[in-house]
Amino acid sequence: MRTQLIAVVVALAGTTILTAQTPNRARADSIARADSIKIVRELEAMAARGSQQQPRQVGPTNPRLLPDISAVGDLIGDFSPKGSTQEGLERFSVREIELAVQAAVDPYFRGDIFLGISDLEGIGIEQAFLTATSLPWRLEARMGRFLAPFGKQNTTHRHDLHTVEHSYVVQRFLGEEGLKGTGIYLGRVFSPFGFYQEFIVTAVDRLGEAPEGLAAEEPANKKLSGLGYSARLRNYWDLSEATNIELSASAMTGRKEQPIALGVGPVDINATLARQTTAGLDFTFRWRPLQQGLYKSLIVQAEFMKQFNEKSPSLPTGVNATDYIGPTRNYSGAYLFARYQISRRTFIGGRYDWVQDPEADGVSLTAGNGLLEFFPSEFSKLTASLERRSLKGLGGTTRFLLQASFAVGPHKPHPF
């Protein structure tokens, strides 16, 4: 049936081509409009004119030592039936433009800078870090701002996720765009048991972004114990040449500003510092047969996180325990995601979310999400996502989102 359909289309298209043959247009310096064979013919002619039969010992391809500069656009359309569910309530928005500048700094370091630009937040430093590339013992060290190596999803830029948004457990526990930190990062790859393992530790200036409108008596980072610390152990196994799994664990801790009742403490103080610790497990299964890998693949991913909150933090003088209105319980959350490739450029997938929502005092938030992804090429992606989200006892919301994202320039590949 499909072949018959193609045959009809081909026949129609062929008729069009027969009647629409036009002379080759003159192309001064570009082969942009040519097809593969025209490109080849043009290059053959160039080779005949020139001297291409010499080994490629020409000058440098980047004589000005320019860094790789690239940009990623992330566009959102929100067609939810009861109004936009975007933060700024737009139906159409440029959610973010990411500008990346990346290069080797010298024989010892490479530099990576990612700027995020959005209507809501203006321009900001998403990531900017220096990586030491010459350390012994398979060590890697970074200094700067980076995505926290916590869990699987958080180390992927939002525009490059398989879903339109981060899972709800990541959004609620780590932040809508994931968790970043500014500090130092040390990782080591090892394999004492014959499989890949990597251990990463970080120390960052603070755990998450500073909450707006909350002021404690002292900054969270005044004491070293108030910094944000994280650790992650990755374990990876090849099950066969086509399948592999990763099972990893992460933990992080730090002190954060949490609210106290207004007017009960010292003037201008409406928060106190409380320790928050989050632990997580993540699992990823991948299947991609090598020979048919252009057309078939499957990924199944799950993460579980538990957030532990200090229940009785020290409070400013004059503030009673009953005036503390920060979180006094622990929260859990998880998601399960799967995506299957049905053709060279098309994928279908779905995600189920469950989280005890800290923003709703622990009420269970559940969401089911189905998505269709289409990749015109490696550098552009169109996604349609239908989601039903419910807060237990408080009803639900249906969301329909379209996403278009694109990359221009030599954007570095994202982590496996």
Binding site: T3, I6, A7, V9, V10, A13, G14, I17, L18, D29, S30, I31, A32, A34, D35, S36, I37, I39, V40, L43, M46, Q52, Q53, Q54, P55, R56, Q57, T61, A104, T131, T133, R138, L139, E140, V189, S191, F195, Y196, E198, Y236, D238, N244, E246, R286, R288, L290, Q291, Q292, G293, L294, R344, S377, E378, F379, V408, P410, K412, P413, P415, F416
Partner: protein, 303 residues
Amino acid sequence: MSRNILLATLLAAGLTPGRPAAAQLRVVTSTTDLYDIAVQVGGKRIVAKHIGQGYQDPHFIEAKPSFVLELAKADVWAFVGLDLEIGWMPLLLDGARNGKIRQGGTGYLDVSKAIPVIDVPSGNVDRSQGDVHPLGNPHYWLDPDNGKRIAKLFEKKFIELDPAGEKEYAANEEDFERRLSAAEKAWAPELAKIKAKPVVGWHTSWRYFAEYTNMNLVGFIEPKPGVPPSPSHLAGLIQTMTRTGAKVIVMEPFYNRKTSDFVASKTGGTVLVLPPSVGGIKGVDDYISLMKYNVSKLAAAMQ
């Protein structure tokens, strides 16, 4: 416990598991073709591994962490270059944290430096042209002259890193060239059957092979490099095949042959699935076998 004792014993003896006593260099290559030529030249003085398989599209290899472990131990990282591995190589090299094989390191071996590259675009290049390689066509190993150049390059690099093996590397390289030249003489009559015959390829990966065999590539299934065909492109291709008398469509085993079969059914043509690399199909286990198989199958299809 006993395993730990064994490991400790081996370490105490100055041996590393996985590297035979005679081997001096640990070599990792991006493709099976480079792997085979490296082994031919390096012989017992090297231990070699390859990242990609011959039946896999080398543009789209996954940067698995297990590859990182191989690269972390490597003395030489040999890759095709010309951006063929751009989608995955940076991740592996970053992950390996091995200064020897990073750009500028003694073991960083961009094999394309030894090759007279074809299809180097001039002027403005952008992705509206598809998955174009701005530095030129990277599928150069499908020309035996380039196979010899690759062998020479390996010889030079191995001698640089392991001078004690100079005689062995030189002898191995000479032997490889001799065997390849002899094979070329043997299949020369088959090349005559291919010469100037019109052929359609799937991807521009057959350009060097066409240069070598003098087959006449009259079209490609892909409208632009890396771009799947549209119905209108296939219609044009069918007309091209009819006009030129092309009866053979050459494609790699990792593409979906339904499209080629459809075009062949409209033109009375034949679809020829040829391995683009060593190991691309069963029985094609070394570089000379690869070239021999492709030449003989194509010549047979032309009759």
